[in-house]
């Protein structure tokens, strides 16, 4: 008889001790149910524009099925450099300052692994994207949270950074427009943060994947700020701007020595991003502007619809200036964000993500993605209204037993 292997003992404790994503449980719950309207999706509801898909099919017909250079297709890097120069006046040499990655996810992992030695601290805003903290831990670093809240528009400030810096602090990770809050950051704030970063000799990783989805004001590209180009690693991709999540293609731009070090890991672990995805990204950059604008316009309209709906429901909601998320507060229901999301799903079949999945600071909120059709949004809000009415109804009975309310009409009784 062979002895059974206890894998828990063999798994690297660093990996073993990483908690599973808070989103996972909701995913399992929601997938089992039928008729769910989902506002829980972190990707565009548009399919990749046809001209991009068509260009990819053509590239396959032409036999583009091989490896590319580790850096990625030169033509794509040139197109990215052009886009950055035209949009933000940040100039990168496509020869040695841009690396094509398998989405921003790989870019982030590469950057962290290239930078961090055991015990190094990385400052990250909270709430923030679910991958940041685990990736830092896996790279041997320690995440330190900059607690943002609705009071300061979920923006990191120079003061927060200054307070959190220790001799072990090496990196400041920024992500604006932000997932899950939809917050953007003001240029003034960024300028002040840049000053601290320079004074404290911090490297900044700026994840700007939602950059094109900015609805209020203009996006500030971090490396475009004075003194920041050389100490910033810019991460971006095509997933959100061109509805290309499944293609897995992004890029990192920065100092050539640093990019060369990142490339070392990339070449031994990934070799290169898939050529088909790179060809598609090239088409997106070359000819995708007008379709992208149309998508952004639609998100912008839905954003207003969502804000209006939350106002009507009586859920306080911070006005998101970017991305495609709203992050309303649900505290007044007396439920934790996880309870709220679970009960909402079970009772009225609307999927949202509990704010706590994005860190402690997300507690008391839910993330609602408006990357959904207007019909779906309206249906979801109709159901949420019913759910809230029941909650608030119960609340009155429980808490306000001394409050005299008029007789409840019969029809209303049933829904309570």
């Amino acid at each position: 008889m062979t002895a059974t292997v206890n894998w828990q003992d063999r798994i690297n404790p660093v990996v073993r001790d990483i908690p599973p994503s808070g989103i996972r449980r909701f995913f399992d719950l929601a997938t089992e149910m039928k008729g769910v309207v989902s506002l829980g999706v972190g990707e565009p509801d548009f399919v990749t524009p046809w001209h991009i898909r068509e260009a990819c099919v053509y590239s396959l017909e032409k036999g583009y099925t091989m490896y590319t250079s580790n850096n990625g297709l030169l033509e794509l890097r040139e197109a990215i450099a052009r886009d950055l120069a035209e949009t933000y006046r940040v100039v990168y040499n496509p020869g040695n300052e841009i690396l094509i990655t398998v989405g921003v996810s790989e870019g982030l992992d590469l950057a962290l692994r290239t930078l961090l030695s055991p015990g190094d601290e990385v400052l990250i805003p909270e709430p923030s994207y679910v991958s940041y903290a685990p990736c830092i831990t896996l790279a041997g670093g320690r995440p330190v949270y900059l607690k943002t809240s609705v009071d300061n528009g979920f923006q990191v400030t120079a003061e927060m950074v200054e307070k959190a810096v220790t001799p072990a602090t090496k990196v400041l990770l920024l992500c604006y427009p932000n997932n899950p809050t939809g917050a953007t950051i003001s240029r003034k704030n960024l300028l002040e943060i840049a000053e601290v970063a320079i004074a404290r000799d911090l490297v900044v990783i700026s994840d700007e994947i939602y950059e094109k989805l900015t609805y209020i004001g203009e996006h500030t590209c971090v490396p475009s700020l004075p003194g920041m180009r050389d100490r910033t690693i810019l991460l971006n991709g095509f997933s959100k701007s061109h509805a290309m999540t499944g293609w897995r293609v992004g890029y990192a731009a920065g100092n050539p020595d640093f990019i060369a070090a990142m490339r070392k890991i990339h070449q031994y672990t990934m070799l290169c991003a898939p050529i088909t995805a790179q060809m598609a990204a090239l088409e997106a950059l070359k000819n995708g502007k007008s379709q992208m604008k149309k998508m952004v316009e639609q998100y912008s309209r839905r954003r207003r619809l969502v804000l209006h709906a939350f106002r009507e429901m009586g859920l306080p909601c911070f006005e998101p200036g970017g991305a495609f998320y709203a992050f309303p507060e649900i505290r007044q229901t007396g439920l934790s964000s996880e309870e709220f999301a679970e009960q909402l799903l079970k009772e009225v079949k609307v999927a949202v993500v509990p704010g706590s999945a994005f860190g402690q600071q997300g507690e008391g909120h839910i993330r609602c993605s408006y990357a959904a059709s207007i019909d779906d949004l309206n249906e979801a809000f109709k159901r949420m209204k019913l759910f809230l009415k029941r909650r608030m109804g119960r609340g009155i009975v429980l808490k306000g037993s001394f409050v005299k309310t008029g007789p409840v009409p019969e029809g209303k009784l049933q829904s309570l």
């Binding site: 994503s21 989103i23 995913f27 997938t31 309209r301 839905r302 209006h308 207007i374």
Partner: protein, 159 residues
Amino acid sequence: MKEILELLQTDARLTPGQIAVLLDRDEEEVACKIKEMEENKIILGYFTLINWDKVGEEMVSAIIEVKLSPQREVGFDSVAERIYRFPEVGSVRLMSGAYDLAVMINGRTMKEVAHFVSHKLATIENVISTCTHFVLKTYKYHGTILEDNESDRRLVVTP
């Protein structure tokens, strides 16, 4: 104004209230603008896009290329009018290239369309020739794919 039109073009059922929310405007202002555009004939009507094939109704459509000899002073306009006044004519457009008018016609049967072309259209003065193309299948109409199999294939919850 353009934004209101774009919204109505994709969904004519949108109320001024809904449009106002989507565009962050005042409801009354939107309602006034729409009324104004209706009066100015910028908005000519509100239609429903129907896939008649699915209704099981027998219907035939044809595109007819019409060559004309233009008339002094009015050019093609008066002949065009004599054609577009027929209710069975769906659209009439003046074209560049090998022929002059592209006439879209809808009828119940092929015979009915043939009768219209030979008895009504071809006999109009200044019509030199006609060339009729019957429509076999419509894939896309008014920017809408008739049988779109592309659905939302995303996972229900993702980070």
